[in-house]
């Protein structure tokens, strides 16, 4: 030990003095130190600019539309005939298509997703969970265009073999496939909600001789209820905004009907159709694009805020 420290004295330069000297000329560094936070702040504000850009785009163009078509007519009109001699711009057919397809999706994904969540959170062993969860993530990572292809070329023909009334393009099959697409979302968010229920609550119930099922249904699910609801709401919002599956598999009939074997158009599919077609800039049809998009934006935003509100309430419970 002593020899070590003796040799420590043996040095050719005085580091601390060198450092002190360097400090004096480090003005560039000092400059960076002040500049960097500003640059980073500007980068972070790009996301705010994006929001402003979206709102500005949608609102400024939708205003043109509402100058030609009264808001009330737009939201109560059951006819959407943009290309006819006397064009009509009622959004109800699109809302109808959007709501029906999302409803079908949640009817599929809700029960299956929730039951998967129960299995993963309450019944599955660690090992099983570690295998199944990544597989479900793959399901969530498949591009929607692939689901669209699947709905159009596989699910629809499959259903038509035993239900011939189903049209080649219909709202049922994309609804079902959208449901499959959002299963992982509900499963993983609901599972998160259920695993964050403290174990003590479970043990308290099991210690009284209840079965696992009873504990899950009577204790865990009620405790995780708002988290589960939030996952449903987010999944619906995702289905409302989903575009490619419905565009491909549901066609473009602007039907205002409740017959799920028929072709219907959603808000998103309408946007694809109109923007892909040759709507001349400045035409009512062109502006209608933005009016529909604004409606879609508001719809999903409300759902997202609702989900956040519900899950925040949930957090307060523990």
């Amino acid at each position: 030990m002593a020899t070590n420290s003796d040799s420590n004295v043996n040095k050719a330069v005085n580091v601390s003095e060198l450092i002190a000297k360097n400090k004096k000329k480090k003005s560039i560094n000092n400059y960076m130190e002040k500049l960097v936070p500003t640059i980073l702040f500007l980068l972070a504000s790009i996301t705010v600019l994006t929001t402003i850009g979206i709102l500005y785009t949608l609102i400024s163009e939708a205003v043109h539309f509402f100058m030609e078509v009264p808001i009330l007519d737009f939201f109560t009109g059951t006819e959407l005939k943009p290309l006819s001699q006397n064009p009509e711009f009622g959004i109800l057919p699109l809302l109808n298509g959007t709501i029906i397809s999302s409803l079908i999706a949640i009817l599929v994904a809700g029960p299956i997703g929730l039951m998967s969540a129960i299995f993963l959170s309450e019944y599955a062993s660690d090992k099983v969970r570690r295998i199944i969860k990544p597989l479900l993530e793959i399901l969530a990572g498949i591009p929607t265009i692939v689901y669209g292809f699947f709905a159009f070329t596989f699910v629809t023909p499959l259903i038509r073999t035993f239900w011939p009334q189903l049209e080649a393009t219909n709202i049922l099959s994309p609804g079902l496939v959208m449901g499959i697409m959002i299963i992982p979302m509900i499963a993983s968010l609901s599972e998160d909600a259920m695993t964050s229920v403290p174990n003590g609550i479970r043990e308290g119930s099991l210690a009284m001789g209840t079965t696992k099922l009873e504990t899950t249904v009577k204790v865990v699910i009620p405790a995780a209820f708002s988290g589960i609801i939030a996952s449903f709401v987010l999944a619906i919002s995702r289905a409302i905004g989903e575009t490619m599956i419905v565009t491909i598999a549901s066609g473009s009939s602007k039907n205002f009907s409740f017959d799920i074997t028929e072709s219907m158009q959603t808000m998103t599919a309408f946007i694809v159709e109109v923007s892909g077609g040759e709507a001349p800039a400045g035409s009512t049809l062109h502006y209608s694009l933005y009016a529909v998009a604004l409606t879609l934006f508001v719809f999903t935003m409300i759902m997202n805020l609702l989900a956040k509100y519900v899950s925040r309430k949930f957090r307060e419970e523990y």
Binding site: E33, I112, M115, M301
Partner: protein, 294 residues
């Protein structure tokens, strides 16, 4: 003892336990359901598409004749889009994450920006298409070129990258930056030399996942008016282009006219899924390597 047995009879324990195990099977089957559909989807696409994939399919140009058509143009288009998306999202995404995690004071501005990012993540992708159409294609007058498509997709996946980069930065142990500050290092020095290198593997993983989301996206591109015509191969950021998902879209739509187009779409899906699979494998490898070291 008798009392216990009576209790056992009374509370119908056997029936309750039977119910429990029946439901357990139902829960398990539900979990399998999604996976079975996934398997059907993949097998179906492989059966339909694999025999159409050969070197010619990958390296040829588009053609209206199904047996001559190739997807080189779409592959190149997707690659060019990646060239835009990767640097743009990395710089803006990591920069924003550093600002939010390490510079901004906990307060109104920070929570405003974070709420805004959370909301952006929930905006339907097609709306980003309209933003790109207005801002990049028309306002900046780029036209429907690689740069416009790439920027649109970059904005779309930015929230994903920011949130994952924030998590990566947060996961760097505080004692490392403490050690650095303790030696008189400034904040930016500490971030650059200690925090960023430590967070890099997770940031890369997150950015690869964001990238895979971007290259599978179709809806915004349809709004930008990306064509599927017989256009020349894109050679730069300002060339018009088509991308793999767009090609799948058009071929699927037209499959009711020409039946073989469905097979071409399936073959293109196989290529797209293969690219996504490779990207995700890289992400998993990085993640595992990093976890082993710690």
């Amino acid at each position: 003892m008798e009392k216990l047995e009576a209790l056992h009879q009374n509370n119908k324990m056997n029936a309750r336990l039977r119910k429990n195990s029946i439901w357990k099977s139902i829960f398990f089957l539900s979990t399998l359901f999604g996976l079975v559909v996934l398997a059907i989807l993949i097998i179906r696409v492989l059966i339909q598409g694999l025999e159409w994939i050969d070197l010619e399919f990958i390296t040829s140009r588009l053609s209206t004749q199904a047996d001559k058509a190739g997807i080189m143009g779409a592959i190149l288009g997707t690659l060019w889009v990646m060239v835009v998306v990767i640097p743009v999202t990395l710089i803006i995404g990591v920069g924003s994450a550093i600002y939010l995690e390490l510079y901004s004071k906990k307060g109104k501005i920070q929570s405003f920006i974070e709420t805004n990012i959370a909301n952006l993540a929930g905006v339907p992708s097609i709306v980003y298409g309209l933003l790109g159409l207005t801002a990049f294609v028309r306002l900046m007058d780029l036209g429907n070129v690689v740069l416009a498509g790439g920027l649109t997709l970059a904005l779309l996946v930015l929230p994903i990258l920011i949130v994952s980069a924030q998590e990566a930065l947060r996961a760097v142990p505080g004692h490392l930056s403490e050690a650095s500050y303790g030696m008189g290092a400034t904040k930016w020095q500490t971030i650059r030399k200690i925090i960023l290198p430590a967070a890099l593997p997770s940031i890369l993983t997150g950015s690869i996942l964001a990238l895979s989301r971007a290259i599978g996206e179709t809806a915004p591109l349809t709004v930008l008016g990306i064509p599927a015509l017989l256009i020349p191969f894109p050679q730069g950021l300002l060339d018009t282009f088509t991308a793999l998902p767009m090609q799948i879209y058009y071929w699927t739509l037209d499959s009711s006219l020409v039946a073989e187009y469905a097979n071409l779409a399936a073959a293109t899906i196989v290529i797209l899924l293969l690219i996504l699979f490779i990207l995700n494998s890289i992400a998993i490898i990085i993640r595992n390597k990093y976890h082993q070291r710690n």
